[in-house]
C-alpha cells in the first residue's frame, strides 16, 4: 500500500504528460475536409476539340477539358467521386469520366466555345457529401 502511495505522484506526473487537447482548427491537411487549406487538388491539364460520331453519319463536335486529381495529397489511399459544376453554362453536377481505368486524370465534355474561358467548379465527394470547391478554367 505504501509503495502505491509513492507511485501516486509519478502517476499524476505521467497523467500530465497525456495529451488532452487536440487543436481541431489545426486539422486542415485532409483534402476531403471542407477546411482544407493545402494546395489545389484539381489541376487543369488540357482542352481540345473532339469529334464524336453519333450514328447515321452525323458527327458532333465537343470541347474536352482534361484535369487531374492530385491523389498524392490524400492522407491515405481512398475512393472518391468528383462533382463538377460548369460555371459558364450554369449546369451543375455534370458527368466526368476517367481518361483510363484507375487513372487520376478525368475529362469533361461540353459544347465548344473557342476563345471563351470556361470555368469549372470541382469538388471531391464521398457518401454524397462534397469537400472544398476549387475552380479551374480552360480556354480553347
Amino acid at each position: 500500500m505504501k509503495r502505491f502511495l509513492i507511485l501516486l505522484p509519478f502517476l499524476v506526473l505521467l497523467s500530465s504528460c497525456f495529451k488532452d487537447t487536440v487543436d481541431t482548427a489545426s486539422l486542415t491537411n485532409n483534402p476531403f475536409d471542407r477546411d482544407f487549406n493545402g494546395e489545389q487538388v484539381f489541376v487543369f491539364e488540357e482542352t481540345f476539340l473532339e469529334t464524336v460520331n453519333i450514328g447515321g453519319g452525323t458527327n458532333v463536335l465537343y470541347q474536352v477539358i482534361v484535369f487531374r486529381v492530385r491523389e498524392e495529397l490524400f492522407l491515405s489511399p481512398t475512393d472518391y467521386g468528383i462533382r463538377l459544376d460548369d460555371l459558364q453554362n450554369g449546369q451543375d453536377a455534370q458527368p466526368v469520366t476517367p481518361v483510363s481505368a484507375g487513372s487520376s486524370r478525368y475529362r469533361y465534355r461540353r459544347e465548344p466555345l473557342p476563345g471563351t474561358s470556361i470555368c469549372l467548379r470541382l469538388r471531391l465527394t464521398n457518401s454524397q457529401s462534397a469537400a472544398r470547391a476549387e475552380t479551374i478554367c480552360a480556354t480553347l
Binding site: F4, L5, L8, V12, S15, D20, V22, D33, R34, S129
Partner: protein
C-alpha cells in the same frame, strides 16, 4: 421487648409457675413456649428483591456483610448499605416491625465510574472498528475507484488519439466535419473529466491510506480501558458511621475465614 425466661433451679434464675415437682416439666415447656412467642413478637422479616440480582451485597448495621434475600431482624431501625458490581452504593434505613414481613425492592444505579468506563470503552471500540474495519474497507474501495479511474483515463486518452488519427483516414467530408465539431471536443471533455476523476480518486485513496496507517499505529499503542470499581473498594473497606457532628469515615479490614 425481649422476654427473659428463667428456668427454676438455674443460677440467678427465677422460677416461673408452680414449685411442685409434678408440675415442673410442663412449667419448663410453658416457659420455653412463652420465650419463643415473645421472641417471635419482637422480630420482623425483610424480603429483598434486587435489581440487579447478580452480585448484590449489603452491610447490615455497619457490621455484617451479607447477601441473603430474607432476613429476620429485631424490631427497630436497621441501616443497610447496598452494593452490586458496577453499581453505586446506597445507604438506607429500614424499620422492622415485630411480627411483620416486608418486601423490599432494591434498585441500584450505575456508578459514575462505570458509566465513564462504558463511554470510554464504546469510544475505544468505535475507534477500533473504524481503524480495523471501516477505514481499510474505505481504502480498498478508494483503491478500486482509483484503479477504475486511471483505466478510464487511459481509455479516454486512447479514444482521443484514435479520433485524431481517424482524421487522416477519413474521406467523407460530412464525417470529417462531425469529427471536428462534435467527436473531438466531446472526447477532450471526457479526457479532462477522466483526469479530474483520477486525481480526486487518487487523493481520496492517499488520504484514506494515510488515515488507516495512522489510526492503526495509534491503536497499536493504546490499550483498552479498564474498569476499576471504586465503589467496590469503598464498600469492602469503608463503613459509614454517623457521629455527633458530621460523622467519621472508618476503614475496616475484613478477612473471610470459611
Amino acid at each position: 421487648m425481649t422476654s427473659k425466661v428463667r428456668i427454676a433451679g438455674t443460677e440467678g434464675g427465677s422460677v416461673v409457675g408452680s414449685t411442685s415437682p409434678g408440675y415442673r416439666i410442663p412449667v419448663v415447656f410453658g416457659s420455653l413456649l412463652l420465650c419463643l412467642v415473645a421472641q417471635a413478637q419482637s422480630t420482623g422479616q425483610l424480603r429483598f428483591r434486587f435489581e440487579p440480582d447478580r452480585g448484590m451485597q449489603y452491610v447490615l448495621d455497619g457490621k455484617y456483610r451479607m447477601g441473603d434475600r430474607e432476613l429476620t431482624l429485631e424490631e427497630g431501625r436497621h441501616t443497610f448499605t447496598f452494593w452490586a458490581p458496577e453499581r453505586l452504593m446506597m445507604d438506607t434505613v429500614f424499620v422492622v416491625e415485630p411480627g411483620r414481613a416486608k418486601d423490599v425492592l432494591v434498585r441500584l444505579r450505575y456508578s459514575q465510574e462505570y458509566v465513564d468506563y462504558r463511554r470510554a470503552e464504546e469510544r475505544f471500540e468505535s475507534q477500533r472498528r473504524i481503524g480495523r474495519l471501516w477505514l481499510p474497507l474505505a481504502t480498498a474501495g478508494a483503491g478500486a475507484w482509483t484503479t477504475v479511474a486511471w483505466i478510464r483515463l487511459a481509455q479516454s486518452h486512447s479514444t482521443l488519439l484514435d479520433l485524431e488519427d481517424s482524421y487522416n483516414a477519413l474521406a467523407d467530408p460530412d464525417r470529417i466535419e462531425a469529427l471536428k465539431t462534435t467527436d473531438l471536443p466531446n472526447a477532450q471533455a471526457d479526457l479532462r473529466n477522466a483526469r479530474t476523476h483520477a486525481y480526486v480518486a487518487s487523493g481520496v485513496f492517499a488520504l484514506s491510506t494515510a488515515a488507516t496507517v495512522m489510526l492503526r499505529k495509534k491503536l497499536a499503542t493504546r490499550s483498552a480501558p479498564e474498569f476499576k470499581d471504586q465503589e467496590r473498594i469503598r464498600f469492602e473497606g469503608l463503613v459509614w458511621e454517623p457521629g455527633e457532628r458530621r460523622g467519621t469515615w472508618a476503614a475496616a479490614l475484613s478477612i473471610p475465614i470459611r
